[in-house]
Amino acid sequence: MTSTLATTDLRKAFGGVTALDGATVEFQHGKVNALIGPNGSGKTTFFNCVTGMIKPDSGTVTYDGRDITGKAPHTIARHGMGRTFQLCRTFPRMTALENVLAAVPVGGLLAGLRGAKRRSEIDRAISWLTRLGIEHLAGSEARDMSWGQQKLLELAGVLMSEPETVLLDEPAGGVNPALLDRIGLLVRELNAEGRTFVIVEHNMDLVMSISDHIVVFDRGRPIASGPPSVIRTDEKVLGAYLGV
């Protein structure tokens, strides 16, 4: 088992409320990892600490053996970690194509002055839009798209930045069953191509069907981890969920 993204003793408190209480977690490289837990168990805070959106009070985050604790989000993104947001976020007044193109990392200042719409990149962007089935919307502004289409668009943008690890925050939130199946399938496909996934999700059907490794959070720290078959029967997990 090789580890890719790992944290040790991560702590974060907001005012008097402890969101993360010494979270030590290891995710498996090349696998679909899921992070589950009751509401308020610190999953999103954990995500935000890992991706640099907020700085943990203490503890470390390592990625590929490198310490990335407290680094800026864009630096972490460039290390190969891409993320989606809990309530899907796109650039509302940019077209779908521009949304995806905006994810191309700019090397240096001079490279930034090149035209934004170069052929090779447009081709790559369109192929991602095609793969997610929204290429017919390439010229539409994101704000005119439906919720499900925006979710797919957000994912296309993240994939455009060629991340080795993809973090999805509630990919099933607010989407219809048909789209849910498609997202599940897509995750498995993309995983088969070598991408590692870390997914925060409430939908247990989705989690149990697509993940290889599950970490369960309760009150700001992991209480169990293992394959779905083990987690399903773990008493601590049941206790956390049922409040026993």
Partner: protein, 345 residues
């Protein structure tokens, strides 16, 4: 349909350019010509403002102060430093751009609110300094900047009219280049959703800082040119909170997401401003009108005049072609490529 609207756009731009260039020969007297110079000055300033406001969505109310710094920088370098006028102009603007680095460093580290606060504070503190530090700046007695050319009054206006037009063209060109670059796409993504942009790998802080410095450079250049044209600087006018609000009003009224938005806004607001000044003199009603207009634009037309007009055309278009939204990917690719090739030639 797309081609027709593009031709319309090109026609409008050509008309605007021709009108601007022909104005000096049409102006009936030097006063009207000087109003033309002022309007171009405003157009160049609000276009410079739009590097920050339009791309990143950060509203600066302090660009009047950056223009004032450029004016005093140029003026002092000529009057006290003995530099040749146009060398002083570029040296002054470069100094202001350098000063914009620490200002931006403090103002842009966190999100919007602090930026606005710093921008207003900049005007207030510079007014304080330039009024009080009379031994260097001349204080409220003003600073006289020697004229660069020995010309009659109408000729002086005419030459500076074209200098301002050239500067405006340069600012527009740079804005256009950034608009279509990857750097520009990154800036616009900051405007749309800064967290998201950063999560996608955009170094948002550096982006904002760079474009702020570029904006400051052009603003200071325009301010410096004003100093050489007008020849007399007074801190009360150079570091006036009103100048900054005029620029915002112009850009917003015209449309901040449009290349020519600020120019159109400057022509409308600048002309009105000078007309009312001529007809009624300086009254507090200026403030009332500016305040009212700004409030109305913010509340009812935050995207500006140009997009409103464009929407009107689009609605007119839609009656003929069923949908202009649905463009297939291949069509889109072809169109973009054509555009890219056209630009490369």
């Amino acid at each position: 349909m797309l081609n027709a609207s593009r031709a319309l756009k090109a026609g409008a731009i050509l008309l605007l350019a021709a009108g601007i260039l022909a104005f000096p020969s049409l102006a009936p007297n030097p006063y009207i010509l000087s109003v033309g110079v002022l309007v171009l000055n405003y157009a160049a300033l609000s276009t410079s403002w739009n590097f920050v406001g339009g791309f990143t969505g950060y509203i600066s109310l302090g660009h009047g102060a950056l223009a004032g710094l450029g004016a005093y920088g140029t003026g002092l370098l000529v009057a006290k430093g003995g530099l040749p006028p146009f060398l002083a102009l570029f040296a002054g603007a470069t100094l202001v751009a350098a000063l914009a680095v620490p200002i931006g460093f403090a103002a842009l580290r966190v999100r919007g609110a602090s930026f606005v606060i710093v921008s207003i504070s900049l005007v207030l503190i510079l007014l304080l300094i330039f009024q009080s530090w009379a031994s260097v700046t001349g204080g409220s007695r003003g600073l006289v900047v020697p004229r660069p050319f020995d010309l009659s009054r109408p000729e002086h206006h005419r030459v500076f009219y074209y200098l301002f037009a050239g500067l405006l063209a340069l600012a527009l060109l740079v804005w256009w280049l950034i608009d279509r670059s990857r750097f520009g796409l990154g800036l616009k993504s900051i405007r749309e959703d800064e967290d998201k942009a950063e999560a996608l790998g955009t170094a948002t802080y550096a982006y904002k800082l760079i474009v702020f410095v570029v904006s400051a450079f052009f603003t200071a250049l325009t301010g410096g040119l004003y100093a050489l044209w007008f020849g007399d600087l007074d801190p009360v006018f150079q570091f006036s909170i009103l100048t900054g609000s005029y620029l915002v009003l112009m850009a917003l009224l015209g449309g901040v997401r449009q290349l020519f938005g600020p120019v159109v806004g400057a022509i409308i607001v600048g002309t009105a401003l000078e007309y009312f000044k001529g007809a009624y003199g300086d009254t507090p009603l200026h403030l009332v009108a500016t305040g009212l207009l700004l409030a109305l634009v913010v509340l009812f037309m935050p995207d500006g005049v140009l997009p409103a007009v464009a929407d009107l055309f689009k609605r007119f278009d839609r009656t003929q072609s069923s949908s202009i939204r649905e463009v297939t990917a291949s069509e889109l690719r072809d169109e973009r490529l054509k555009k890219a090739e056209g630009a490369a030639r």
